[in-house]
């Protein structure tokens, strides 16, 4: 792989509470290559959104990054002062969140928000910025962009709003876009449109994407590689095809089997017993061991590290070590 655009090393995020420190992320490492789409999946509480928040320096206090490093194009960014981090957000890293209304200010027109973002980060005149903004809206598929740019966010439908957010995220031509559940709040028939727009426009501009979602289908359609998180740890990472069709970690296999699809014809879905542990009750050893039908002594004592099972495909499972 070429020099990664984003490199996350042993990231640890902790939330101190009065009943002790909760470790929401525990030693997560991954890279995103330039132009690559990395999917980040996991169930609620697995730490996928916190990973995104940690990268852009937006962990809600009292939570904090307690260890590890984040590099953007080779330069460390997790220890930057808030001002420098703010300059990176928006300029070099764009963000798309689940609810478009949280990213858009309801009191300003779309034009004002786009032009403001563009002019903060790019050296353009008011007029040039407006033209640039209209071009962006047009590109994300807003009909009659030149007219609709002066509308307020509430004039747009949910899908159109998310398109505006994507335009806003890409306004300053970032190198990386972090999209956190960008389609979850949308209707089925609109979801695929948004995913298509996001994918195309990023490919066109060479921006990398970190796509955070609980929806394996979205990942399958969009991502080049996928990282599976479980209880704040990386369970498996690899090319989408390998992970979906040939998963190594028992958790990933269970997860894939539990999704009903339009093709299969079995009566029962694969079922992982139990539920993901809460952060205050993560078992020792492999976090998945109490629910794993293959677990053995070592799993209960030592937490597995990522072990290569194929080129670019690694799983945090002691079974993988035995096989290789």
């Amino acid at each position: 792989m070429a020099e990664p655009l984003l490199s996350v090393r042993n990231l640890v995020v902790e939330f101190p509470t009065r009943r002790g420190v909760l470790r929401a992320l525990d030693g997560v490492s991954f890279d995103i290559a330039p132009g690559e789409v990395l999917g980040m999946v996991g169930e609620s509480g697995a730490g996928k959104s916190i990973t995104g928040a940690a990268i852009i320096g937006l962990i809600e206090p009292p939570g904090r990054i307690a260890g590890g490093e984040v590099y953007l194009a080779g330069k460390r960014i997790d220890n930057l002062p808030p001002d420098a981090m703010r300059a990176i957000r928006g300029k070099r890293i764009g963000m798309v969140f689940q609810d478009p209304l949280t990213s858009l200010n309801p009191l300003y027109t779309v034009a004002r928000q786009l032009v403001e973002t563009i002019r903060t980060h790019l050296d353009l005149s008011e007029k040039e910025a407006r033209a640039h903004a209209i071009g962006l809206l047009d590109r994300v598929g807003i009909p009659a962009a030149a007219r609709r740019i002066d509308d307020y966010p509430h004039h747009f439908s949910g899908g159109m709003r998310q398109r505006v957010v994507i335009a806003l995220a890409l306004a300053a031509e970032p190198e990386l876009v972090i999209a956190d559940e960008p389609t979850t709040a949308l209707d089925v028939s609109v979801q695929s449109q948004i995913i298509d727009v996001l994918k195309e426009i990023c490919a066109e501009r060479g921006a990398s994407v970190m796509l955070i979602t609980h929806d394996m289908g979205v990942i399958a359609e969009t991502a080049d590689r996928v990282a599976v998180l479980y209880a704040g740890r990386m369970a498996e990472i690899g090319p989408v095809r390998d992970v979906i069709l040939n998963a190594s970690h028992p958790y990933t296999r269970g997860l894939m089997g539990s999704i009903p699809t339009l093709q299969q014809d079995n009566d029962r879905l694969v079922q992982i017993p139990g539920t993901m542990p809460r952060l205050n009750a993560i078992p020792t050893g492999c976090a998945f061991n109490p629910r794993c039908e293959h677990s053995f002594e070592k799993c209960r004592v030592h937490a597995p590290h990522l072990i290569d099972v194929a080129p670019h495909h690694a799983a945090a499972c002691w079974l993988a070590e035995e096989e290789t």
Binding site: E43, S44, D187, S189, H214, G257, S258, D267, I272
Partner: protein, 326 residues
Amino acid sequence: MSDSFLKVTGLTRHFDVSKPWLNRVIEREEKEFLTATDNVSFDIRKGETFALVGESGSGKSTIAKMIVGLLAPSEGTIEIEGRRIGPNDPEAIRAVRQRMQMIFQDPFASLNPRWRVGDIIAEPIRTFGLLRGGDVTREVARLLEVVGLSASDVGKFPHEFSGGQRQRIAIARALSSKPEFIVCDEPTSALDVSVQAQILNLMRDLQDEFGLTYLLISHDLSVVRHMANRIGVLYLGRLVEIADSKRLFLEPQHPYTQMLLDAVPDLALSGRRRKPVTGEIPNPINPPKGCPFHPRCPIAIDRCKVDPPAPRETPIGTAACHLAGL
């Protein structure tokens, strides 16, 4: 049909979405109505799972609420085993309520946070006066085990449980009045996929064990295909297609059904090329004239713009489309 358990005919519901009276007078505006459900008819056979699928604004939850009596229909009838449940027949309503239960979407809102699990599950038993004293306790313990929880959970409060466990509690409550028919309104859409699998499997097991009839409301085609025998597809309050589940996915007749199927991500990575879906759902207060789907329909003809299509027979069921089955 003789073996139909539930039959709804011409079910219609309007909502008054007008501004307050004073605003209307000052701004000289007419009263505005939203037709959430428009002339919907279907029947559910005993022991089957009938699914209603549709996107937001399709009126699927409104239908569910009318069937369980949370909303009164504006027009149309609901019959249970041939007996009409009228609004002025409290005896019939009471008798029917016990046979009918509902499972809700959000397990964090459907359980009273101040009640203990035992009291939550026992509420239907106590309301219908089915059992007394120690029998209630024993029944609650049994139900908890039926849904895969422990009998010792009775004294806990909902917030001590995960989303999936709460949905099990909600299912136990629904089972406690020994119903024959359960309306499941998006029962897994608030849950993670691995938990969804547990709940769907549980629902199937219970159906086999107790011979339950389900009305499943969902926006997720994969879930619907996995669970349902027959499927009704809703668009803007109208039932556009009813068909046998397996065949609907192989040979959808209505262009909207086709579009919904195309929008489902391809998890098998079969290389199936999706047709791009266009447009968004129009404002239900002011739906398009003629067929409500015609502005988004790739095969619409002039007739679709003026003439709302009536349901017609197709090889796999019925579809409300002028071009279906041709």
